[in-house]
Symmetry: C3
């Protein structure tokens, strides 16, 4: 589908500067422009690219003042990044969407499927499963017995949901994510072996949650591991049994949260960071990449390092560590001088 600069300006509530009739059918990045597409300028460090761009239309902030001649059509908007998000969403919705039931697929007789769903070939739906309306279940998805899935949720290829878990509406699960595997619980025996503690709980995932590729969320021993509304988890993350992740908390890739830890809402975790088990992380806490948190943390903390320190202290210690050889030399120098003074007496 093609859209003119005038069409797009109307959609974004923006103003056209230049040829309003020029048409585009795709979107590209300003530093990797594709001729005949639309692009955008939001981050000022990319401004230089606008003067040579081969894209036909560039979305810019209202207050953008060009310093050279432009060959493209501009659309001026309140916030170019927000406008981009809106356009990408619009673009995605113009594309045809998967629908219908492919064969062979496996649906238990006791399962209830909603309307307007997509069920890919080789998808498996267990006993007593309830699937909402407009759900998309890609090939090779496994949905165990007694699972419930809300409306408008998307499960990409190979997602595995263990029996008894509950999934909300408008969630997105990326390929290979595993929800509800057994929590890691073993009782040690005197001979060094371990007895498995059977895990009879489940996972509850609320609405508007996104779970990254190959991320794992374990079932509770008893009760539920809970992922609250609006949580966004990137790829290859581990959430242990009986954890609770608060509303709108966001985690970058490869984070690990040990069992029974409670994380409050609106927290942000950098990549490869980790949290010990059985502790609580206060609302609004920000955790730097690769950090390791070993004890409970009060709201709005900003932490970095392993073990994690207050962010500013951590930055200070890093800069001292970088200069530790000088510090040690200073101490050796002092020892010599003090010795000399003592000998001198």
């Amino acid at each position: 589908m093609e859209f003119s600069a005038n069409d797009i300006a109307t959609l974004l509530n923006g103003e056209v500067e230049g040829n309003g009739n020029v048409k585009v059918s795709n979107i590209s990045k300003i530093d990797q422009p594709i001729p005949g597409t639309l692009t955008f300028l939001s981050n000022p460090t990319y401004t230089k690219y606008i003067y040579t761009t081969t894209a036909s239309i560039v979305i810019v902030n209202k207050d953008f003042v060009p310093e050279n001649k432009l060959s493209c059509t501009l659309i001026r908007v309140e916030d170019a990044y927000v406008a981009l998000a809106k356009l990408l969403d619009f673009y995605t919705k113009t594309k045809p969407s998967k629908m219908g039931i492919e064969q062979p697929s496996f649906v238990s007789k006791s399962a209830i499927l909603g309307e307007q769903i997509y069920l890919g070939a080789f998808a498996y739906i267990g006993d007593n499963v309830l699937i909402g309306n407009n759900v998309k279940i890609y090939p090779h998805v496994y949905i165990g017995d007694n699972v419930k899935i809300g409306n408008d949720t998307i499960l990409y290829s190979g997602v595995k949901i263990y029996a008894g878990c509950s999934i909300g509406s408008s969630c997105i699960f990326h390929a290979g994510s595993v929800i509800g595997a057994d929590g890691f619980g073993f009782a040690p025996n005197p001979d060094g072996t371990y007895t498995k503690i059977e895990q009879i709980g489940n996972v509850i995932i609320e609405d508007n949650v996104e779970i990254g590729a190959n991320t794992t969320v374990d079932s509770a021993t008893m009760g539920s591991t809970i992922i609250r509304n609006g949580v966004k988890l990137d790829n290859l993350i581990q959430i242990g049994h009986n954890c609770e992740i608060g509303e709108n908390t966001v985690m970058a890739a490869q984070v690990g949260i040990a069992g029974s830890t409670i994380i409050d809402k609106n927290c942000v975790f950098g990549g490869q960071s980790a949290v010990s088990g059985h502790i609580t992380i206060g609302e609004g806490t920000k955790v730097g990449p690769k950090s390791g948190i070993m004890s409970s943390v009060k709201p709005n903390s900003v932490l970095l390092g392993a073990p994690a320190l207050d962010f500013k202290l951590a930055m200070k210690t890093f800069s001292i560590i970088r200069n530790l050889p000088e510090l040690r030399n200073d101490v050796i120098e002092l020892q010599k001088k003090v010795k000399a003074i003592e000998d001198d007496k």
Copy 2:
């Protein structure tokens, strides 16, 4: 199924205190009680919850002395945690278990399946595969040619076992785990490219092993990567080619063990810890979370940090690092004082 306090006390060899006829059909956590269920008190920090619990039955240690009035029935046992493990096991066994062969599934004509197995839809069994009795193979499991699997082993949905691997009895593989992918071996060429070293070995997994969701255990270049009896691996762990993991060694999530490393029995690894290749870790070694071990380690070591130090030394260095700005200021102060003394002479 419902059980009375008297029934449960008999099962656990415990003593009822209160109404022995009260019945329960489920188990809950003491801090998240569900009315009409059984719960347990083992960790003393949770004692406060027992006085207000809405659970009907609480399992407690023999020597528990209540400080307030209780409204629940108690069952006194030798060890409440061990009793819980026993009950969870009993509870799990009362639930119906998967059995039979679902269609469509793929079984090579040369494969031999044991008795009483479950084979889920879309499971794949390659040529010359041998499956023991009472094995459960969930949907989307892939079992490559010439694989052997012992009795009573469970493979959850989407487990992938490469050709030629050997799996013991009473093992549990969680969804998405991959056993036997090629070890990471490449020979560098003068032009910067790499030539793949073909990996012709396999993985041998002994009995009573549990492998977490999306964990990967690579094949040996030649010979076998070996996971010994009773090893428990959590989710998203990497075990490199030609490693050997000793009996009853336990690893938390996201641990990485590089190739050709030998880990002796009864070791414990914290989450996100890692071990370099071609080294040996002595029996009974304990490794803290996020630690990195770069050289061989003698038995019963306790290690922490990256690079890992003796645990006590690591804790000491962490506490000094936290105070490095003060230490640096102390040195600067000393430099001034010594300068003053020298000038004074």
Copy 3:
């Protein structure tokens, strides 16, 4: 198949010493010899094993001088390790290889399959997919709409390729790897929730790339995430959206690269290392295990630590950190001495 020492020497352009008619049908490691096989000696620390080996043939470097009697046949070659790689490759090629189309599999009517391919049962090929010749697609592989795959590429069981991605020739994808899941992009809203930035880009993987088990490579927001010729990624690695990984760059397991980072060619990353988003890593950079890189790095850097320092500086700081308690004691001692000197005045 059996081969004589003479046959193998001809293949490797080597010289036989001992019985050239002895035959072997398999390869074993020198420290885990299997009678009747061929083994090799390349690393001098393993030399002791050659005098007691039960293997029939040992490949050695041309200049190997035995210090004791040998009972095996030797084949002397220019470089024993290169010869081994050649032999393993030869051995692998003598084994029968998968071919043909198993049922049930799912192939869209609009897909075009090359010649001589293997398509395992339960594999899924979407609309308008183009598959080259001699491609092997194992069971449970998912190939989304409009994907292109070059000749001679192998996709092991459970690989997931999202719609629109492009895969080169002679690549190997290990089980459970996920190519093209949505990049992790969200715009924060004033109420704490996040709006998803739709990801309309794709992943381009060039030729001769190997991707490890359960590794994830995310799609670009717009444009492409690019993995260049000859890149080798181990298991459980995360590559963020809009990254570019340069030719022949190699990463060990569990590495994480955040979004929009450009890594130049011939770099090497140790296990569990990580790189922040939106930076560039110069050609030929070497990064130690568990390192964390937070800013751009010039070519041929050698880095270690989190945050990463120059390798030599990092090793120096580690050794001082290990001795921090002594350094602190030295400072305390100095403080006492200086106090005494001052008091003495």
